[in-house]
Symmetry: C2
């Protein structure tokens, strides 16, 4: 069996860990009712479904977490063919199956629980809190027409549920990072000077296949392979005419999915001995490495996302480089870009997201590049977990150019 | 490499086939501008992206298909890191990269093309036409605030683009069906009387792994395995205490994904020789088989979805059985439930969807069950493609109980 997907039992274990958090976070955020309204989630998934529902539904389904006074209840209204699967999970107080339509049982449930607000999965800025489609929103307006003024965004709730990684989740992301580094280390032996990007990507794919793991993002650019000075990094596949060469560098951006959880690391190789690394590259590497160190030293629960980015960004500029054109870090989990708080600048593209607060248990990437004049971009990416008073790297950092000395 | 995912070159081939259709169908449906507005589609996919864009985007992206007078243009506005990947596909007239925010280039583009309407990916009833999230809809309202009255649903367009399978798509679904039947046939040799559902599902998973194909829906219920008389079918995993037994039946609902395209078939086994099959089962089988035959005889381009369902449903009732509690058929493609027109009854749960018109090139399942008193449910499912004047089964039908005579 592929190790890419999470086994059902392990998934339900994570769902139960998350269900422990839900009432606590709902109180914290002042939300008395959360409605997940979804259908055919294998075709059009809601990104939070897997962690709190633990699988897909076919027909229109309502999952309702609500405080009725002090009593906390969890209800699932699902098509009759989906009902048994929900019951067997053992996570619902009540499973209400329907045959012809979901309207009647939904109206009845909301009549009873009388919520002050109804939090829904939409957000302009945060993709993982935006699982409710617009068509389903319109459908909801027609079913709960007398309650539509109560609708609010569930984003603060979802971000906390998703961002506070459970013990099991942290183990899985760590394992994904370890496998990624295992493959990177193997590559140092397999890559030869003169290989082109396609050949190198194929070597990675072979090692992934041997370990039964899959790419953390689309395979055509996972790993992204960048050889030589002339390539802009980005979400693009290998170029067959880009070749490695003595005196040049090779960069990758690589993550695997293990039991449904992702890694995302960047490493950088130099073709030649350590003595042969030119000062221009050494300075660039030190800058990138130093910026990550500075960010890691300042990140802890309670700081804003943009303040962590700023420390790294200012350092890069102080060293005479143009600032990097992306955020310093994103969260990592079931997706390589796991949504929620970003360690990013306050640019239009990131909306209000970087204003959020770092929490214990968050897993972030720390990544940035600088551009050199003669060797192209120099870039690194590390994965960290936020601890009680700082952070911890999930696998040992890349502290210097990895050298390939076959010529 | 896993055969589950579509190779990039083949995907772009299909995208190009679909791009041939787009202006034609837009004219047919009277739509002069179609906007796909998406972000982080590996986390929160828009179901139509793969067929018309051919891959994921990270930052907010606008893909605009528009008639400017008689001139048809295709524009992609994407984050700068996504731009090279779009350019290399060779499917856009222009790729417009942005760094800090998408608003300015979007406003500029729409200022120029002056659409009469802007079709967006939302639909209350059709999941595959509902890829625009509510948060992204709100974002769009704020970016194109002066054009928000022009927004209409792109559902008629998307359903036709998705439903009219190209030559390449038909080949891939057919191959998925062939692999499914290859595994089903192998199972007839491997399944022994007395095995439980979990053991049987494991046998299927082993054969899938050997062939490097994955499940067409969630693995816990793919294949769904139903042994003996006491189980309601549905989206539920195997029950370890449900065992096969001489004189009983075994049913499965099984599909694989091959190069990104799905099969979805149901087969049924009897433990014993043909002579031993009781009349009650024979009659149930004939009814299910006959209902599928009647549906296949009446389906052709131009008929409504519900009329096809009705023929089968009426036949089942005429034979003295309770009607089946689902639609007779759904479309099949990149997803087992591929959205668009359903061959279903006019129940609340299906909305207006079954009122749509069958088109040449549509691939449908034909599936139904009847309940017997002593042997549980008897159910079959076949996959057909709609031809110019009728339909064709993609693989040979199941014409009788498959017997397992090991005792």
């Amino acid at each position: 069996m592929s190790q890419a997907k999470i086994p059902h039992d392990l998934l339900i274990k994570i769902v139960k860990e998350k269900h422990e958090l839900i009432p606590k976070i709902m109180k914290e955020k002042g939300i008395d009712c959360w409605l997940i309204f979804a259908r055919e989630t294998s075709v059009n998934p809601d990104p939070i479904m897997n962690q709190v529902i633990g699988g897909d539904v076919v027909w229109k389904s309502s999952f309702v977490f609500a405080f009725e006074g002090e009593k906390f209840t969890k209800s699932a209204i699902v098509g009759d063919f989906d009902a048994l699967a929900e019951e067997r999970k053992g996570i619902w107080d009540v499973v209400i199956p329907y045959k012809e339509g979901i309207s009647a049982p939904m109206k009845e449930l909301f009549q009873r629980i009388k919520p002050s607000k109804i939090a829904l999965n939409y957000s302009e800025d945060d993709v993982v809190s935006d699982g409710l489609s617009h068509g389903m929103f319109l459908k909801l307006i027609s079913i709960l027409s007398d309650k539509k003024d109560l609708f609010i965004s569930a984003a603060p709730l979802i971000q906390a549920i998703r961002g506070r990684k459970t013990k099991t989740e942290l183990e899985l992301v760590t394992k994904a990072c370890e496998l990624t580094e295992e493959i990177n280390h193997k590559m140092t032996k397999l890559i030869k000077t003169g290989m082109n990007e396609t050949e190198i990507q194929n070597l990675f794919h072979d090692e992934m296949d041997k370990r039964n793991v899959v790419e953390a993002w689309q395979r055509v650019s996972c790993p992204a392979i960048d050889a030589g000075p002339d390539k802009e990094y980005g979400h693009v596949g290998p170029l067959p005419n880009s070749k490695t060469k003595k005196g040049h560098i090779l960069h990758n951006d690589f993550g695997v999915k293990f039991s449904g959880y992702c890694s995302d690391l960047q490493r950088i190789w130099f073709f030649g001995s350590e003595d042969e690394i030119p000062e221009e590259l050494t300075h660039a590497f030190k800058t990138v490495h130093g910026a990550i160190t500075k960010a890691a030293e300042c990140i802890k629960p309670g700081v804003t996302g943009f303040s962590v980015d700023k420390v790294a960004r200012d350092y890069v500029k102080s060293q005479g480089y143009e600032e990097y054109a992306h955020a310093l870090g994103h969260q990592l989990g079931t997706n390589a870009h796991d949504g929620g708080l970003l360690l990013g600048p306050l640019w239009e593209r990131y909306g209000d997201i970087p204003k959020g607060i770092v929490e214990e248990g968050n897993i972030f990437t720390l990544e940035l590049y600088v551009k050199t004049k003669n060797y192209g971009m120099v870039s690194l990416e590390e994965d960290i977990v936020v601890t009680k008073d700082g952070c911890r790297f999930l696998v040992p950092r890349c502290d210097k150019f990895i050298t390939i000395e076959d010529t």
